[in-house]
């Protein structure tokens, strides 16, 4: 699983907690770090042969960054890697994100165990 913080959001405590929880459940988690661009994350997903890409955005820039990420993945030929989004995502943006190709959206308040379960589910599903 590739975990990423896109854009200028500098808060990484949450994503590190999630990374740890996923690793404890047996997953290999590649954490790409803070302030990543969509191109950087997409290339990482390609090189790591990711089963899922999970991005966290607390800065509100998700409507720009997430579609850009999906576009990059597609142009690299790996548009079939599911993308999951977390962070501060207003409900009204969910339909647009889903339409853009996001597999699921899990905001704060999602219990950690549910997050791990759902991500694992998505990661194990067949890539189209």
């Amino acid at each position: 699983m590739v975990l990423a913080k896109l854009g200028l959001d500098g808060h990484d405590r949450g994503i590190k907690v999630i990374a740890r929880a996923l690793s404890d459940s047996g997953m290999e988690v590649v954490y790409t770090g803070l302030r990543q661009t969509p191109e950087q994350v997409a290339n990482a997903a390609l090189q790591e042969d990711a089963d899922v890409v999970a991005v966290s955005i607390l800065s509100g820039a998700h409507m720009t960054l997430v579609p850009a990420l999906i576009q990059c993945l597609r142009s690299l030929g790996v548009g079939d890697i599911p993308v999951v989004v977390g962070g501060i995502i207003p409900n009204e943006d969910s339909p647009a994100l889903k339409a853009a190709g996001v597999a699921d959206i899990m905001g704060p308040g999602t219990p950690l165990s549910q997050l791990v379960k759902r991500l694992t589910e998505i990661a194990k599903s067949e890539r189209r």
């Binding site: 690793s23 459940s25 590649v30 790409t32 770090g33 191109e39 950087q40 990482a44």
Partner: protein, 300 residues
């Protein structure tokens, strides 16, 4: 693909053999204790190698949990800006179950990247003693990264580590204690490499600022040139092949032995108060007999 099955890995390796015969990459191992700044340094080294118009691959190995098999692979986070360069390939690996430092997929990745013609393949491992020694068997040049001593002088003299270093790096050289650590390193190199053909250089670097990286790249190149000129490259590669065969055998034998114990072929013998020496010998004998049957050389 090589990660998922040994059979597949073997097939892929077979197909690559003719290509590999004509390709040579410089395989560089970078090892050192957690936190010394390896990933940051590698990020700058990759940048420098790209300046020298070399294609680079980085295989970043982080330990997986023995219990869950999972891992958080964070080395990439310090060099991910390189991802967008088409001549740089970075891949993270856990150690999934192998108690040693390098798992089979990493060794396969090295072969594949060589076949693709990468000029330099950097293998980063977190040294915890044994792991560092192991990496040295599979690379041409071993770079050992340390940082100014946090009080424990003997850390640098950990058994096995000094002997395998080809290039020593004192990173975070701006921290206090750097001068003392540098002299300790110098002394250790003198003791361990007296009279040897290659005298490992000690380079001071500040990874975060990129200082000392040009010298590091130069010394790594020097070492490879030395290996080529002295004919040691072939010897190292032969040793690496032997070591890899040994690893594969060890893994197969261990799983075979585990099968025997669990499936109860030596049923009733693995009981409370048993003699482990006797039990082990019995399992070994049953494995040898099995092997002889397979080869049709059953002795009467």
């Amino acid at each position: 693909m090589c990660e998922s099955s040994e059979e597949l890995a073997s097939q892929i390796t077979q197909r690559l053999l003719p290509v590999l015969a004509s390709k040579r990459s410089h395989v560089v191992g970078v090892t050192g204790a957690p936190g010394v700044g390896k990933s940051t340094l590698i990020d700058k080294l990759v940048e420098e190698e790209r300046e020298r118009e070399r294609s680079v691959a980085v295989l970043a190995v982080d330990p997986s949990s023995f219990f869950t098999g999972g891992a958080v692979l964070g080395d990439r986070s310090r060099m991910n800006r390189q991802s967008v360069d088409p001549f740089v390939y970075i891949r993270s690996f856990g150690t999934s179950g192998d108690l040693g430092g390098l798992s089979r997929p990493v060794l396969d990745a090295i072969k594949i990247l060589r076949a693709f013609g990468k000029d330099m393949i950097i293998v980063e491992t977190t040294g915890v003693g044994q792991n560092e020694v192991e990496v040295a068997s599979f690379v041409h040049t071993t770079v050992v990264v340390t940082m100014p001593s946090l009080g424990d002088e003997l850390q640098l003299l950990e058994a096995g580590v000094p002997e395998i270093g080809d290039v020593f790096v004192l990173n975070k050289a701006d921290l206090s204690g750097a001068e003392v650590s540098h002299s300790e390193l110098r002394e250790m190199v003198r003791l361990n490499f007296e009279g040897k053909r290659w005298q490992p250089p000690i380079i001071e670097t500040i990874g975060t600022k990129g200082e000392g990286v040009v010298q590091l790249a130069d010394r790594i190149d020097d070492h490879f040139r030395f290996l080529l000129a002295s004919g040691l490259v072939a010897e190292k590669e032969r040793k690496a092949l032997r070591e890899e065969v040994y690893q594969l055998l060890k893994a197969s034998l261990v799983s075979l032995a585990k099968e025997k114990v669990y499936e109860g072929s030596v049923k009733g013998i693995v009981a409370d108060g048993g003699n482990p020496y006797v039990i082990a010998r019995l399992i070994l004998e049953s494995l040898s007999c099995g092997a002889q049957e397979v080869h049709g050389t059953q002795t009467k």
